[in-house]
């Protein structure tokens, strides 16, 4: 396994800049997730690392060795594609052994490696089947198995769970986490699903418009977003963002925008309230309830309550914001420091 270093990576398609100078270091054995909205450049960045795309500028080092112009096949990386990209005319065994045959490895060694990976991924019974005869989850495991047998320096995953249904996605996510714990390899994982990012990553890289917005552990990003984009992107439902003057006692500070997570908006008595909001929609999930409300000037506000609620559409609800969890952003959208107290205590 190996570490990865990206310095000033740029990628242009004609006059369109997709990656605008990416600097990133990934340590040996780390599980890093690239997350961001569609078109932010996360898949392009992964493909650049894989060697499937050339860079316009910058350099890539794997374990200290310069590989910027090295062919994909010579970088020693393995990639799991969104579509699995299995060879449809080959059996599972052939799919898993194909790369090893290319490397000229002895048949006995190939058989041993495929057998070991198949046992790890519970594919032993399916080795003679073709991909068309497998379920989505099994195909995904074959794609992972194909990567494992090569014993690569770094595993690359390009939205590998996006073609699975919700239940299977949760199960496969757990398997991936277990796999990382078991083989301990360096893994780079692209997703637009922040639940995957939060649950799998050692560190998350948030990308937007071809630039890195913030790098940090999942809870660092959640508790101390560096700017409005990260604040709005990480967390579901997203953080509430309000003009400062709406909140009592906040207008005098340097902040232009206040951020507050839905779980930190608390229903209260009228006298203690920062705002009184009108309920627009109530989502009862059993164990928790999401209230979608409108603050003055029709600014949307989401409130998360434990348990169940008797509120209905049209009700007026006085709420206050936990001052310990209030995020403040200046006029440029950057976080004002000091950060929320709770975040500081966690970090």
């Amino acid at each position: 396994m190996a570490g990865l270093e990206l310095r000033g990576i740029r990628k242009d398609y004609g006059s369109t800049a997709v990656l605008k100078g990416i600097d990133l270091s990934i340590a040996d054995g780390e599980f890093v997730v690239f997350v961001g909205p569609s078109g932010c450049g996360k898949s392009t960045l992964l493909r650049v690392i894989a060697g499937l795309e050339t860079v316009t500028a910058g350099d890539i080092r794997i374990d200290g060795a310069e590989v910027t112009r090295t062919a994909a096949s010579d970088r020693g990386l393995a990639m799991v594609f969104q579509s699995y990209a299995l060879y449809p005319h080959m059996t599972v065994h052939q799919n898993m052994s194909f790369a090893l045959e290319n490397m000229g490895i002895a048949k006995a060694e190939i058989a041993a490696r495929v057998d070991r990976a198949a046992r790890m991924l519970r594919l032993t019974d399916y080795l003679q089947r073709r991909p068309a005869a497998l379920s989505g989850g099994q195909r995904q495991r074959v794609a992972i198995g194909r990567a494992i047998v090569r014993d690569p320096k770094i595993f690359l995953f390009d939205e590998p769970l996006s073609n699975l249904d919700a239940e299977l996605r949760v199960a496969t996510r757990k398997e991936l986490a277990a796999l990382h714990a078991e083989i301990g390899g360096t893994m780079i994982y692209v997703t637009h699903d922040q639940v995957e990012a939060m649950t799998l990553a050692d560190r998350i890289v948030v990308l937007n418009g071809g630039r890195i917005e913030q790098i940090g552990t999942p809870l660092e990003l959640y508790n101390r977003p560096a700017n409005l984009f990260v604040a709005g992107f990480i967390g579901s439902p997203r953080m509430n963002l309000l003009p400062t003057e709406l909140v009592r006692g906040e207008a005098a500070g340097p902040a232009a925008t206040l951020g507050i997570r839905p779980e930190h908006v608390e229903p209260c008595q009228e006298a203690e309230a920062d705002l009184t909001v009108r309920i627009d929609l109530v989502e009862q999930l059993g164990g928790e309830t999401f209230l979608y409300a409108a603050a003055p000037n029709d600014i949307p506000l989401t409130i998360r309550c434990d348990g169940q609620s008797r509120l209905v559409r049209g009700d007026l609800l006085p709420v206050r914001f936990s001052r310990d969890h209030l995020h403040r952003f200046d006029a440029a959208g950057l976080a004002c420091r000091p950060e929320p107290l709770l975040a500081r205590s966690h970090s």
Binding site: M79, F81, A85, Y87, P88, N102, R146
Partner: protein, 343 residues
Amino acid sequence: MTDTMRSHGAPARGPSAAAAAVTTGSANILMRLTDPPMRAVQRLIGAARMPYVFLLPNLVFFGLFVFLPIGINIVFSVTGGTGLFPAERPYVGSEHYARLLDCGSYLEAASCREDLFWRGVGNTLTFTVFQMVAMVLFSLVTALVLNRPIRGRGFFRAVYFFPVLLSPVVVALIWKWILQRDGLLNAVLTTAGGEKILFFVDPGWAMFWSVFVSVWAHMGFYTLILLAGLQAIPRDVYEAAEMDGTRPWRVFHRITLPLLWPNLLVVLVLVLIRSVQVFDEVFVLTGGGPGTATMMVVQYIYTTAFANQVQNFGLAGAASVLLGAVLFVLTLIQLFLTRRRAS
């Protein structure tokens, strides 16, 4: 107020609106005219049989121009004489078939009673083998090249397809002009200091150019089929192969070829069927010569029925039926392969 006026008879604006109004009006008149007789027919035969009424025009067309000629051909093949109408032709049973199949050795055309037929069969087989190999090879290579991101790819795709749009007779005439004794190619050869080659006098050259011209004329069609197959192979699979460190030849051999195989199979069978049917290009190009060196089965049928002094419709009919049987089997194979591919 304005909306009300528009919806109540304000004139439609623009030529396209006027054309639409005319079309709709004509359709309404047609529907009003056809409605009563259709209802009358439905009352007469019942709603369940109405689909046959709608199929009738096509059935009549196919019946007159496809099934009736096939029937007449079969009747001709079992009757003799020179009469054109079946009533004027005496029944001879399988006499023509026996004459065609009467051979000392099927490998030696001269030992056959109808040796020209077997020469035609031999030539058609030779043509088919070379044509299949050349067609598949050139179509595949062209499709592989056109599938790459080369400059002017759209232009070249069109260029390779253009000959398909030409009539086979036009194709043959163009190439005849190039290949004849004082043609373009010989002019180039002599200008370059070489000697003239009499392409249509040498049997080898005549067969070579017959195959070449046929491949040139039809390659675009098969290239298109293979190109479609190549483009249906997901890019991810090639990228996975690249990540797996697969060398280019191995990518072709282990990835492209197996995934293209269904398309290749269809191309092979289609080329086979068309090769067996070959006539117009070769006939216009070489006239079947020199001697009978490029005379194909279909030319034999044509000559026997229409070009000989004694027009033997019966013998030509029997040869047509035999050729039809071969084509029927080949078509069944093609249908089977196409359906298997679709499933």
